[in-house]
């Protein structure tokens, strides 16, 4: 069987990739449904019972649509931009631990594709590439609204990434490791989820995550009411769908990272408390998905509730609030780590 060692990662990749793509399409449905309920509507109801087949209909529609490239667009960049947006969002899942180890057919199978010892760094660097997709899309469209949007996006993403990365460093200092799996295990050994150790980091990271994924109240780059759709104004068909998928995939990445770093990943709640041990009967990956779902719901909930920030206010929140808070948090964490 050792000669078949390459097979396992391949199967894992296939499963994760497909699961993520299905999750992304159903995330769209979830968002439409939840927002509809928040707004006293029904949401999609026609395709399948309660619209459960709506994502499939949407996908078919987008695939069959005419793919338009504006005559004066930069064709090469115009084509590559959506790909640059989607691919990093998908390959970030490579290091996300959906669970610990499971026994399948008598073999010990890890429920993650790779346990890289610099997993967190990998996620930060990979998701940074996704920004180029947005910037290039705005530039390549050769159109004014997308150009404005891509300028907004680049400024926004750069400023919020600083705060996010600093918060990740706080967690790294607390856990003493960069590996995603080891961070979850550290929470098991320390007998506490890191949300109780680093609550400030969670808040800053989540706000930064909203900005990184271009979600309300930071959805300036695609502000329909101001910039008629922002960077994807000129896109149609499947290329538009790629941006769409990338946004939702990024939301899932942020939820998964937050779950892993702060809520014990696949661990059941309070795994060290004796009388709660029965929670361990539920498989770890289910705990992981439930926790992820909670954060995805929060994303949608925020979208249904809040208005949008203005460009300069967004920068002010980023530089004058989040980054100082992040710095202070990192400083305090480091001091406590050294002296305690």
């Amino acid at each position: 069987m050792t000669s078949m060692g390459w097979l396992l990662p391949l199967v894992q990749i296939l499963i994760v990739l497909n699961a993520v793509l299905i999750a992304v399409t159903y995330m769209v449905l979830l968002e439409r449904k939840v927002i509809a309920w928040a707004q006293s509507r029904l949401g999609p109801m026609r395709v399948g019972p309660h619209g459960v087949l709506q994502p499939i209909a949407d996908a078919i529609k987008l695939l069959l649509k005419e793919d338009i490239t504006p005559a004066r667009a930069d064709k090469w960049l115009f084509t590559i931009a959506p790909i640059m947006s989607l691919v990093p969002a998908l390959i970030a899942f490579a290091v996300i631990p959906f669970g610990g180890h499971a026994r399948i057919f008598g073999r010990d199978v890890p429920l993650f594709i790779a346990d890289v010892n610099v997993g967190l760094l990998y996620i930060v660097s990979i998701t940074s590439i996704g920004v180029y997709g947005i910037i290039l899309a705005g530039y390549a469209s050769n159109s004014k609204y997308p150009l404005l949007a891509s300028l907004r996006a680049s400024a926004q993403l750069i400023s919020y990434e600083v705060a996010i990365t600093m918060m990740l460093v706080s967690v790294i200092v607390t856990a003493g490791t960069l590996s995603m799996v080891a961070i979850v295990e550290a929470q098991l050994h320390n007998h506490v989820w890191f949300v109780f150790v680093q609550p400030v980091a969670l808040v800053v990271l989540f706000i930064g995550g909203l900005a990184e994924t271009n979600r309300t109240p930071f959805d300036l780059a695609e502000a329909e009411q101001e910039l008629t759709g922002g960077f994807h104004t000129e896109y149609s068909g499947m290329r538009f769908a790629m941006f769409f998928l990338a946004e939702y995939a990024n939301m899932i990445v942020v939820s998964a990272v937050v779950t892993t770093l702060f809520f014990g990943g696949w661990l059941p709640p309070f795994p060290n408390v004796g009388w709660l041990a029965f929670l361990g009967w539920i498989p770890g990956w289910m705990w992981f998905l439930v926790k992820c779902f909670v954060f995805l719901y929060v994303f949608v909930w925020i979208r249904a509730t809040l208005p949008r920030y203005r460009y300069d206010q967004l920068m002010r929140v980023g530089w004058k609030v989040l980054i100082p808070v992040a710095l202070a948090n990192l400083f305090v964490t480091a001091i406590l780590k050294v002296w305690l």
């Binding site: 707004q39 907004r152 009411q225 101001e226 910039l227 208005p307 949008r308 920030y309 206010q313």
Partner: protein, 368 residues
């Protein structure tokens, strides 16, 4: 020679743009995100209603007034009918005046609903939009029951009303008032104390009371700047002199104050409707109107307070033909729109849509 060329970016906002509330075109000159200058281009919805009216029978013009401010047809109807009544010195029965007041205030709520929904949507709060349309729907139902139409009502006639209110209608209006009172806090919960909403609207698009008067602003944009001018109070028409209500005014003259003024107008409208329903007199709904309407030679101007501001009609009759000799409208949307270039100069692109929303224009009325 500087190292980098800097150039203004000229951008056409509209006439096809999601936030220009129809077919308004604003040519923005941008320095980065900052607006250096703005030209407002109108006329995309011009249908020549004023000229058309000079070729229509006096009663037929009511139908044309529907199509000016199409989100508040009843107040346009009222303004026109009262102007002709003033010209012909027709006495309108008290019951008709009461019902006209109820209709105009219902219309004011519906119009403000539409305004608040779209304005909040422009700033990114999408849920408020649907909450407002939920309540507006109920008002449209009331109008449908009264006159059969949901948008272009033609709900008034010279001398009174086309028909009396259906039985049970007054009770339904009261029920709506009770329901709507519980819904206003829902809008307020989402916006009034929301930090983002405040940051987006406070000290944005400020206009002082004196400037507002100089430009000719009327309605909530004028009252938001602290000028207590309301035609309903100052020159009462319909039955407004018989009711007790307040004219809310703002102080800062920014988008936030205009928002607060309109929200308070929701409550004042409910107050007026309740008084009107409680004291609704019996009697006919049409006054003594000649079969052939032919006003005596002369001219008159009469204004009412439409949801957008002072809606005035100037009508000249030559006393011979059965059409007006000259028909001229003073549309509040058009006059308020004049303030836009001055308001947006120096602000950011995102503020432009907030300001278009805050002055509450309807392009059907701007262009006529």
């Amino acid at each position: 020679m500087s190292l980098f060329d800097t150039d203004e970016l000229v951008i056409n906002m509209g006439p096809q743009h999601p936030s220009t509330h129809g077919v308004l075109r604003v040519v923005l000159r941008l320095d980065g995100e900052r607006v250096v200058g703005a030209d407002v281009v109108i006329g995309y919805l011009h249908r020549g209603i004023e000229k058309l009216s000079e070729h229509r029978d006096w009663q037929q013009i009511v139908m044309l007034t529907d199509r000016m401010d199409y989100v508040s047809a009843a107040t346009s109807n009222l303004g026109y009918c009262e102007t002709v009544e003033k010209l012909m010195q027709i006495e309108v029965p008290r019951r008709a005046r009461y019902i006209r007041t109820i209709l105009s205030e219902l219309q004011r709520i519906a119009s403000h609903n539409l305004w608040l929904g779209t304005h909040a949507m422009d700033i990114g709060a999408m849920t408020v939009f649907l909450y407002n349309f939920r309540e507006r729907e109920l008002i449209l139902d009331l109008f449908e029951e009264f006159c059969g139409a949901r948008l272009t009502y033609s709900s008034m006639r010279i001398g009174g009303l086309p028909l009396d209110i259906p039985s049970g209608w007054a009770r339904k209006v009261s029920a709506f008032c009770d329901l709507f009172e519980t819904k206003i806090p829902e809008y307020e919960d989402l916006l009034t104390h929301n930090r983002i909403w405040k940051e987006r609207t406070r000290n944005i698009g400020v206009i002082s009371g004196a400037d507002a008067i100089a430009i000719g602003l009327t309605g909530p944009p004028l009252r938001g700047s602290g000028v207590p001018r309301d035609v309903r109070k100052d020159e009462p028409y319909a039955a407004y002199d018989e009711f007790d209500f307040d004219v809310p005014i703002g102080s800062a003259g920014d988008i936030y104050d205009r928002y607060l003024v309109r929200l308070e107008e929701f409550r004042q409208s409910l107050r007026i409707i309740r008084q009107a329903i409680a004291g609704l007199p019996e009697g006919p709904v049409v006054g003594k109107v000649p079969r052939l309407i032919k006003p005596p030679a002369g001219e008159t101007y009469h204004a009412i307070e439409s949801p957008k501001g002072e809606l005035g009609f100037f009508i000249v009759s030559d006393g011979r033909s059965n059409v007006p000799y000259r028909f001229r409208v003073r549309p509040p949307s058009f006059c308020n729109l004049q303030a836009l270039p001055r308001l947006i100069k120096g602000h950011l692109v995102a503020d432009v849509v907030a300001m278009i929303g805050s002055i509450d224009i309807v392009l059907g009325e701007v262009d006529r």
